[in-house]
């Protein structure tokens, strides 16, 4: 147990040294470390609870995705059957009126169902289930297709959110998918996320439609709006009757910039369409001179100006009694694009910088105090060997930081608690060894034999006992989020490093001391 070949000793010391070196980049600022190789630049990331910032978890509204899918399915069904000139009634569930047509209808409708691609080419899944029963054909989107649609929505949403947030200039935001239908947004350093939440919360779907003048809004409210129109909230709090048909969609916008109206000096948003949008806009305005058309944002009418003359240039202006901030925001939203489905914030954790700093200070103080107390205690209890244990523990903590840096892991306040706890637990390994040595000495062994026996007997126990704590840390890592996960990480890494130091470093130090001093008695 006390015998180390030169190679082994060197390897151990080198490993410990290298791992500890990885902890160094944390003490240098970004600027100084820029010219170092990539591996050396990795450093610990401070969690949001230490840095201050906002953590937002967003969920895609699956029912909205489903509704939209059904709507486009209905449109497709109408198109296919009309083209094949097969009479029918219904929308996504259709009844074929002439028996002779059933086969043809089925085969045409089945074409709407496309195979879905899996990881290795086409999987068995298709996008639609088409079932026929006595002339009644039912088309249902498959669950797999819906999940895929939701997944795509999330990908699109992430890009759009990125664009929106980048305009705000927050430092290094993290925007990533979480699970099938969720998005995690982390904004370090943001102390008031309300502006960001506003920007993310808006779907920003912009449509241009005609106002329906066939009846007034009040009449429509009391009776029923005509089949192709709907009542929407208007600018002044009342309702407006708007045609459902979309003349030009916001998707054709190519630019939007905040500006000021030349005559009224009101904040406005100036926009420009691409060629398709410009053409449609020109057609719509030409056909409807003198009538009001509505600019609808997220199903709310923000403006309904009267068309004075056809607009052929494909650009225009939206004014809606905006403040400068609102005009700015709208321009950002239009430039970034509309979200495919509404997003809801299901979890928010925001920590102000004041609390973050306090937490770091508290964490540091606790670490120093804990370490100091443990070191003193070990020294008092075990004397010289206590000193060896302390050296091992200090290197242990340095190694923990090294590994955390290498993994670019996140350090949270519970994480710091985990490190302090690890110091207490790491000492246990050494204690096991030393108590065993004491026992062997009492049993009458010579100094060297006692030390040797102490190590060999204790190591199996050390392994067993640490593994159980490690399992607990692993489970915690899997089920935890954020700060709790940080605790699991430091605890787990701490256990691994303390196993390493107990098995190797402490043994090495003691072995070399024995070799140099050749003691007769064990000063323990």
């Amino acid at each position: 147990m006390l015998f180390f070949t030169r190679w082994k000793a060197a390897a151990i010391v080198l490993t410990a040294l290298v791992v500890c070196l990885f902890a160094l980049p944390n003490f240098f600022t970004e600027g100084m470390a820029k010219r170092w190789p990539a591996l050396a630049q990795r450093h610990i990331v401070l969690g949001l609870d230490l840095q201050g910032g906002s953590h937002l978890l967003l969920q895609v509204d699956a029912s909205a995705v489903r509704k939209e899918r059904l709507q486009s399915l209905t449109d497709d069904v109408l198109r296919v059957l009309r083209q094949a000139r097969i009479p029918f009634t219904g929308r996504a569930i259709v009844r074929i009126t002439r028996e002779a047509d059933i086969e043809t209808a089925l085969s045409k409708l089945r074409e709407l169902s496309t195979p879905m691609s899996g990881i290795l080419g086409t999987s068995g899944q298709r996008t639609l289930d088409v079932n026929e029963n006595g002339g009644l054909i039912t088309l249902t989107p498959t669950d797999a297709a819906l999940t895929e649609r939701i997944r795509q929505s999330v990908d699109q949403s992430i890009q759009i959110i990125e664009r929106r947030i980048n305009e705000l200039g927050t430092s290094e935001p993290t925007i990533q998918r979480e699970g099938i239908d969720r998005i995690l947004v982390q904004l370090p350093g943001v102390r008031d996320p309300s502006h960001v939440k506003e920007l993310i919360g808006k779907t920003a779907k912009l449509d241009f439609r005609m106002v329906d003048l066939s009846m007034s809004a009040e009449q429509a409210e009391q009776t029923r709006p005509p089949a192709d129109s709907e009542l929407l909230d208007g600018e002044n709090g009342g309702k407006v009757l708007i045609e459902k048909r979309v003349l030009v969609s916001g998707g054709d916008l190519v630019d939007a910039q905040p500006g000021f109206d030349q005559r009224t000096s009101e904040p406005v948003v100036n926009f420009r369409f691409n060629s398709t949008g410009a053409r449609r806009f020109a057609e719509a305005t030409q056909a409807n001179v003198g009538k009001p058309f509505a600019i609808v944002l997220d199903n709310k009418v923000i403006s309904a100006p009267v068309i004075r003359e056809p607009i052929l240039g494909g650009s225009g202006q939206i004014s809606g009694r905006f403040t400068v901030q609102q005009a700015n925001d709208l321009a950002i939203l239009l430039r970034a694009g509309a979200l495919p489905a509404p997003l809801t914030i299901i979890e928010e954790r925001t920590v102000g910088p004041g609390l973050g700093e306090d937490s770091i200070k508290a964490g540091m103080r606790a670490s120093y105090a804990g370490a100091a107390l443990v070191i003193i205690f070990m020294f008092v209890t075990y004397g010289l060997f206590g000193l060896f244990a302390n050296i091992a523990v200090i290197i242990n903590v340095a190694m923990i930081f090294g590994i955390l840096s290498l993994l670019s892991a996140t350090l949270t306040l519970p994480g710091i608690a985990g490190i302090v706890l690890t110091v207490g637990i790491a000492v246990d390994s050494n204690v096991l060894i030393y108590e065993r040595i004491r026992e062997e000495v009492r049993a009458g062994r010579s100094a060297i034999n006692a030390i040797d026996a102490g190590f060999s007997r204790a190591l199996a126990t050390i392994l067993d006992s640490n593994i159980t704590t490690f399992i607990a840390a692993a489970v915690l890592f899997y089920i935890g989020t954020g700060p709790v996960r940080g605790f699991a990480v430091t605890l787990g890494i701490g256990i691994l490093t303390s196993l390493f130091t107990a098995f190797t470093l402490t043994r090495l130090i003691v072995a070399y001391w024995v070799r140099l001093w050749r003691p007769r008695t064990v000063p323990i």
Partner: protein, 310 residues
């Protein structure tokens, strides 16, 4: 080992007490598990006037809410229960509160957990605890005989039960960090129990004729000094965390101290070992005089002797 006649009934009693506390008094579930909003605010000038704050918030129609001082007189923790209306309603509640309280406050921390996330966290937390217990049980089964595994589990689940009772009694916030504390207590207690079991196993092999109670006593005495030292070091670290770590992790640290230091030591010595007798370990032993087996010299000393000869 005589103590087992006292310790077992005492433990059983305390466990029943803890369980009934859980059912009648309940745990103070944090927003992680029941949803809601938590806001830590700090007055910009002077100590906080809780009464005024309460009446201001009372007009907002927020349902159940709770204010308390948090570590310092100018620091207030506001807790608002989950609002009906799904995830959207939680956000709106936060805005209303911020508007009502105005600019006199510094918002140190805002945490909002909607119904979707809270149900998940609760599920994960429970599954986590149960699977940790299961995983460790399997591991112990591999390393020791089944009686040891079972004994360790009973002793350590008993630890958890008493700790939960403690949390119920003190009304400490029970959230995700509490689950972290419980899992760590579990892992660490087992750590302890395993050390003692390891020693017992060694004794069982060495002293084939010693009666079980005597053998257990010897094992425990042998490991006692190690246990004391280790528990002291962990207690010191936790104490440093409690005193200096700040209010944010206060509940976590308090739970840990109770679970690891107080209860953990007690169960490892007074429950985990005697249970082995009840589980039937070493029933084939008769009481008798100690018997030493000659010990083989460890092979590692051979090179030492070889070097000394040189």
């Amino acid at each position: 080992m005589r103590f087992r006649r006292i310790s077992f009934p005492v433990s059983a009693l305390l466990s029943i007490l803890a369980i009934s506390l859980y059912f009648f008094h309940g745990l103070n579930f944090g927003i992680d598990f029941v949803g809601g909003t938590l806001m830590e605010v700090k007055t910009k000038a002077g100590p906080a006037d809780l009464a005024t704050m309460r009446s201001t918030l009372g007009t907002l129609n927020l349902g159940d809410f709770h204010l308390q001082e948090f570590g310092a007189p100018d620091d207030v923790l506001i807790r608002i229960s989950e609002q009906p209306g799904g995830d959207e309603a939680q956000q709106q509640a936060v805005q209303r509160v911020q508007k009502a309280l105005g600019t006199d406050f510094d918002y140190r921390r805002v945490e909002v957990v909607g119904p979707s996330v809270s149900t998940e966290l609760l599920a994960y937390g429970t599954i986590g605890l149960v699977s940790a217990i299961g995983a460790i049980l399997i591991y112990l089964w591999f390393r020791f005989e089944w009686q040891f595994a079972l004994g360790a589990m009973i002793a350590n689940v008993h630890d958890l039960v008493l700790t939960i009772g403690f949390m119920s009694l003190t009304g400490i916030d029970f959230d995700l960090t509490s689950i972290a504390a419980l899992l760590t207590i579990l892992g660490y207690s087992l750590n302890d129990t395993v050390v003692i079991y390891d020693r017992i196993r060694e004794m069982l092999r060495r002293y084939k004729r010693m009666s079980m109670p005597d053998l257990l006593n010897v094992s425990i005495n042998a490991t006692l000094s190690r246990s004391i030292v280790t528990h002291l070091t962990v207690a010191i670290s936790l104490l440093a965390l409690l005193l200096f770590g700040g209010q944010a992790i206060h509940s976590f640290t308090a739970t840990m101290i109770f679970g690891v230091v107080l209860v953990g030591t007690y169960t490892s010595v007074f429950i985990a070992s005697p249970i082995l007798i009840y589980l039937g370990v070493g029933t084939s032993r008769m009481g008798g005089a100690e018997e030493h087996e000659p010990e083989p010299e460890p092979a590692a000393t051979a090179p030492q002797r070889a070097r000394a000869r040189r």
